[in-house]
């Protein structure tokens, strides 16, 4: 369907096999399109670290109310997204357990009460519990917590399992449908190819790979997180203001006498610091996460200490667990913490550049937002898409010259 190249030809080429890229590729494949996912190290970036909380309600923050419609819509899509894989929900760690939000000191109680006010104002349900009631649900919670709320609708998924399952499902679908190429291309993308090589605002026709080969595609989706900004051939004037926000996260093993350690996700505010504990059905626990914009991709002692200290304030018995893993990854942050998602306008012609969709900058919400990102992309293959999501267009931070003809 697309221009001739020396390499492969697909309907949709997705750059980046993190959870978002894989989700988009899967949805595209389900829509009957042939797909290639381009990544030298699939699911080893932020996806590898992510805890997988689907916490549209308890992640709501005062300055980020614009995100709520997107996160709630995506959370609601999760059951059908998981179902589309044709496997038992448990195999991707999708669990509809609730979330307990707890505070430790009087100021935490105050902050959580304010947040609950915001949640209620948006029609969301966070039920206040007595400390005693919270500890009946989770007896290992500290006796010394100051406030507790239960958010029944904030669930969890295991991003590593989900990413693995998306890859295998895609490969299986490719085999069954008799695709010429493997859907997974274990290489990094170097550059976008354009219909007119000299005009970066012309139609995007494919992707040049690290080994010099190319993939021709009707649609190219740029979903490679922080690396998106460094991709060659992006439309001139388009700025993708991505910055790395490092996160350190721990994985712990629960000795059998202590199981079940927790039955719900615990999100705590511990003297102003946020910490969360996500119990997995395999007897492990995910404890996260720091958020820092300095240092390296190796976890600093201070950050790990703070996580353990705050977790112990919430659940003292955490001291009995075994430390399996300390993982550090960079989240792709944006100035407004919202994703860069949609088409890019061509300043000169006033229309969107055909063949190109950007889907990056998901920051803390990549796992939660995967189903809606996938749905939005597939809709945009066919039509301009739902105008509700145009406020997340990737060119919203770009110079006026690029945006001047952009439709509202």
């Amino acid at each position: 369907m697309s221009g001739t190249t020396d390499g492969r030809t697909v309907d949709v080429a997705v750059i980046g096999a993190g959870i978002v890229g894989l989700g988009i590729a899967w949805a595209a494949a389900l829509s009957g399109r042939t797909v290639a996912v381009i990544d030298a190290a699939p699911a080893r970036g932020a996806t590898f670290a992510a805890a997988g909380m689907l916490a549209a309600v308890s992640e709501l923050l005062f300055p980020e109310e614009d995100l709520l419609e997107l996160t709630l819509t995506s959370a609601a899509l999760y059951p059908s997204f998981v179902e589309s894989l044709g496997v038992d929900a448990a195999t991707v760690g999708y669990r509809e357990t609730g979330t307990l939000v707890v505070g430790v000191d009087a100021a935490d109680r105050h902050t959580l009460a304010d947040l609950r006010g915001l949640q209620v104002a948006h029609g969301l349900n966070a039920s206040p519990l007595l400390v005693r009631e919270a500890r009946e649900i989770e007896p290992l919670l500290s006796a010394h917590i100051s406030a507790a709320y239960r958010v029944a609708q904030d669930h969890q998924v295991d991003p590593r399992l989900l990413a693995a399952r998306l890859q295998s499902a895609l490969a299986k679908l490719a085999r069954r449908s008799g695709w010429v190429h493997q859907p997974a291309i274990r290489q990094n993308a170097v550059r976008l190819l354009h219909e007119k090589p000299s005009d970066s605002h012309s139609r995007v026709t494919g992707v040049a790979l690290h080994d010099g080969s190319t993939v021709a595609a009707n649609e190219v989706v740029v979903a490679n997180g922080l690396a998106a900004g460094a991709l060659g051939g992006l439309p001139g004037g388009l700025e993708l203001p991505l910055r790395p926000v490092l996160g350190d996260i721990l994985r712990l093993r629960i000795p059998s006498p202590l199981q079940p350690f927790l039955t719900e996700t615990i999100r705590g505010l511990v003297r102003g610091n946020s910490v969360y504990l996500v119990p997995r059905s395999d007897g492990t626990l995910v404890l996260g996460a720091t958020q820092r914009e300095h240092g390296t991709d190796v976890a600093p002692i201070g950050g790990v200490y703070q996580l353990l200290r705050d977790a112990q304030a919430l659940v003292p018995a955490i001291a009995e667990l075994e430390l399996l893993e300390v993982t550090t990854r960079a989240r792709p942050g944006t100035p407004d913490n919202a994703p860069l998602l949609g088409r890019v306008s061509s300043g000169a012609r006033g229309a969107d550049i055909p063949g190109l969709i950007i889907a990056t900058g998901f920051f803390r919400h990549g796992v939660l937002l995967t189903p809606i990102a996938a749905q939005i992309c597939v809709e945009m293959f066919d039509n301009p898409g739902d105008p509700r999501w145009h406020r997340f267009r990737p060119d919203r931070f770009s110079p006026h010259s690029l945006k001047e003809h952009t439709r509202a």
């Binding site: 007896p139 290992l140 919670l141 500290s142 006796a143 010394h144 006498p257 003292p316 018995a317 009995e320």
Partner: protein, 263 residues
């Protein structure tokens, strides 16, 4: 509380088990196992408590083996637990590993004071009694709480003299006396003992036994200190049984002037 005149028959009976020493030892703070063994022998103790979260019952040559070798009964404890649930899990592990229903229940509020968390303690006592444990409840020196624990089925109540490891002795004698006067179960003074006189005082106040660890394990000469506590507990017990003289504001000559030989 029955007071007998014969020191040889003055045994402490808890849950049907006769203990001929009223000194219960702890093991925390010992710098080496051999020294601890000597100190335990010197103390004459027949019951010694061990933290289940710090010692593995299955390890050969462990503290547990030492106690078996010295014919000392083990009282597992739940040191390091902050919630009732943790204490119950730890007690169950102890019962499985050591085949004893006895458990010294500690539920601590925080690392800074190591004081018992009264609410968790009450919850844990109730749960453990329901599960068939013989509960030795380590508690604050609060007469109301001590009575609550007894009512919930604790086999012994163990009020602190002062916080764990402080060596401050008995800070509220009146409360200890009040606890003793109302208790139908043995009262063991637990925690805060610094030196021999503290233990003797506890016994004089009517406690049925004294539990201590660091006063011995962290003394410069643990074996000698252990021996001093053996004597102190016996001394305090004897003094209580002997019946002390009343306290007076003014002197009273020990020999009356009446009938004095006129030399």
């Amino acid at each position: 509380m029955s007071v007998t005149t014969s020191t040889h028959r003055d045994s402490l009976i808890i849950d049907g088990v006769t203990l001929n020493s009223r000194l219960i030892m702890g093991t925390g703070g010992a710098s080496n196992l051999a020294g601890l063994g000597e100190a335990l022998l010197a103390s004459g103790t027949e019951l010694t408590t061990v933290a289940m979260r710090r010692h593995s019952a299955s390890t050969a040559g462990s503290l547990f083996q030492l106690l078996v070798d010295h014919d000392i009964r083990v009282l597992p404890n739940t040191a390091g637990c902050f919630t009732a649930r943790e204490a119950v899990i730890t007690a169950e592990l102890a019962r499985e590993a050591l085949e004893t229903n006895w458990i010294k229940l500690e539920v601590i509020a925080d690392e800074h004071t190591l004081l018992p968390d009264a609410v968790e303690l009450v919850d844990a006592t109730e749960q453990l009694v329901a599960r068939g444990f013989t509960v030795f409840a380590y508690t604050n020196d609060d007469p109301v709480l001590a009575l609550r624990l007894e009512q919930l089925g604790a086999a012994a109540v163990m009020p602190l003299g002062s916080p764990i490891g402080t060596g401050l002795g008995i800070l509220n004698r009146h409360n200890i006396e009040l606890i003793v006067s109302r208790a139908q179960v043995p009262v063991v003074l637990d925690a805060g003992i610094g030196t021999a006189s503290d233990a003797a005082l506890a016994m004089e106040l009517g406690c049925d036994a004294v539990l201590l660890a660091t006063a011995v394990t962290r003394a410069q000469d643990p074996v000698k200190m252990a021996e001093s506590f053996r004597h102190a507990v016996i001394a305090g017990r004897l003094a209580l049984q002997a019946g002390r003289i009343p306290k007076r504001q003014h002197a009273q000559a020990s020999s009356a002037i009446d009938g004095r030989p006129d030399l």
